[in-house]
């Protein structure tokens, strides 16, 4: 049981890493950033490319993936979302879906439809006690997520940049009128969120030892479920919801002969929650 919870927490970390990026984009611009899934998948493929060519070191792959993903995220923001700012919001959503579909196809066409193995090397301590064991990739996911969230928390609460970011979330026009370069904040927002998605892509790829064109789909749908459950735009809510969702999935998945598809469970939970609590589980 303890082992089950530990595994669920690791899974929850992955959801949370993805959800944070989605939530940052939604919080600032109210865009449902479906193409975030492609950013994640791109990260995994860039990691793979590096491991097949230059170096098989996971840290290098992670860094390359974060760089490539943040560039891609920025690219989407500038080329797709920026021109649509004063159009109705469903338009940027549809454009985002278009990017997602096109990018997934591009991955398939370039890398082929079949999964690749990904086993870049790295050294990280594993945990082994009498009641719970974590492999080294699991501890890496945990530590990376922890560090990322600590970094974000410090940035947002302790720095002037973070203050400007919070002001933009509350009233973007007004923040701009007071001299905050809103475009720069939006870019930074995409940069950070996308870098985390890229990192999540590499970590998950390493965890399951698999990379394939549609790997982003399920994780990002889950991330959407997570941010809805947590209340759209709320960071602590999202992190909490990520852990709850992962736990529920793991527990239900552990019931023998219960094979209802996991993805459907997540959405079932979301739909039911929305009917009874339209602002999400933890939304105000």
């Amino acid at each position: 049981m303890v082992q089950l919870i530990a595994n669920a927490v690791v899974l929850g970390c992955v959801y949370a890493l993805m959800a944070v990026g989605l939530n940052m984009v939604y919080g600032l611009q109210k865009i449902l950033h479906v193409a975030h899934a492609s950013v994640y998948t791109l990260g995994a493929y860039v990691g793979l490319l590096l491991s097949l060519t230059l170096t098989n070191n996971l840290w290098a792959c992670l860094a390359a993936a974060m760089f490539a993903s943040s560039v891609f995220g920025l690219f989407i923001s500038k080329l797709v979302y920026q021109p649509l700012l004063d159009k109705p919001r469903y338009i940027s959503l549809i454009a985002s879906v278009g990017v997602f579909v096109a990018a997934t196809e591009l991955f398939r066409l370039v890398a082929g439809p079949y999964p690749y193995a990904f086993s870049a090397r790295f050294a990280f301590p594993a945990v082994k006690t009498s009641f719970v064991g974590l492999t080294s990739i699991q501890t890496l996911v945990l530590c990376f997520t922890g560090a990322a969230f600590f970094f974000l928390y410090t940035l947002v609460t302790k720095t002037r940049l973070g203050l400007a970011w919070r002001a933009c979330i509350q009233d973007m026009d007004m923040a701009g009128a007071l001299g905050i370069n809103v475009n720069r904040i939006v870019a930074l927002n995409f940069l950070i969120g996308s870098a985390l998605a890229g990192a999540a892509g590499v970590l998950v790829a390493r965890y399951y030892n698999r990379i394939f064109p549609t790997m982003g789909a399920v994780v990002s749908y889950k991330a959407f479920v997570v941010i809805v459950l947590g209340g759209l735009g709320s960071m602590p809510g999202a992190i909490l919801a990520a852990l709850v969702l992962a736990l529920v999935e793991s527990v239900l998945g552990a019931i023998p002969r219960f094979e209802f598809p996991r993805d459907a469970i997540a959405f079932l939970v979301m739909t039911l929650t929305l009917i009874f609590r339209p602002k999400g589980l933890f939304g105000r």
Binding site: D86, L163, A167, D173, A175, A177, L178, I180
Partner: protein, 235 residues
């Protein structure tokens, strides 16, 4: 000439908000924009700040054509904005709101000094400095909004419907602050429905109706104009 708006057209979808508006604001003046709700006062101020997309027309500030400038670049030039409804950041503290206002200052010391001056102007804000802006009263929020705009030492202050919903005693206080700021050298463009007060503070004024400039002149002329008397002064 500090600010010059020429032939400005603005529309939201199919609704036309401004039809070829021309105004001029000279350095050191207080200029009032008068008009009913929806006459286009807010649209005019927001387009000067760069917050609405304009169709045609030019906006010049201090000799520079800033028509296509971003709002934050205009703020950098010294344009301050006190919007309708205060629009303070509800989930930031009073202090944080002011820091955001001083975001353009390069030094922390400059921010601290500016904040000190704001606190001298509005002592109540000092008492409330650690409170979230959402917990302030309407009048306090207006003060915070003015204070926030002052943090960047603006040359031109755009003030939109600042007295809307305020108690009469607050209205008097706010106008005396504006008067003080003007004597300290800040140019003010003031959109007001409180016409009597606005015209007593302003040297000149424009009357907006359905997105067009209907009348312009000195405050004296406008006060004595029959149409203005009838429509806005209730005489």
């Amino acid at each position: 000439m500090l600010l010059e708006v020429q032939n400005l057209y603005v529309s939201y979808g199919k609704i036309k908000a401004l039809w070829g508006v021309n105004i001029v604001v000279n350095k050191g003046e207080v200029v009032a924009l008068i008009g009913a709700n929806g006459a286009g006062k807010s649209s005019l101020l927001r387009s000067i700040m760069g917050l609405v997309r304009i169709e045609t027309g030019t906006i010049r500030y201090d000799g520079r054509n800033i028509t296509s400038w971003k709002p934050w670049d205009r703020a950098r030039l010294g344009i301050g904005f006190v919007p309708e409804g205060a629009r303070t950041f509800p989930d930031l503290t009073v202090e944080e709101n002011l820091i955001i206002g001083g975001v353009l200052s390069p030094h922390k010391r400059a921010v601290a000094n500016a904040m000190q001056r704001v606190f001298e102007l509005f002592p109540i804000l000092k008492e409330r400095r650690t409170q979230l802006a959402r917990t302030l009263s309407g009048g306090e929020r207006q003060m915070l909004s003015i204070g926030r705009a002052l943090m960047s030492n603006p040359t031109l202050l755009l003030v939109d419907e600042i007295t809307l919903g305020l108690m009469p005693i607050m209205v008097a206080q706010v106008f005396s602050v504006l008067c003080q700021l003007n004597s300290a050298g800040i140019t003010i463009l003031l959109a007001e429905q409180n016409v009597r007060e606005a015209l007593s503070l302003a040297g000149r004024g424009y009357v907006l109706e359905n997105g067009r400039i209907k009348l312009e002149g000195s405050a004296q002329e406008l006060r004595e104009n029959e149409a203005v008397k009838k429509a806005y002064l209730g005489i």
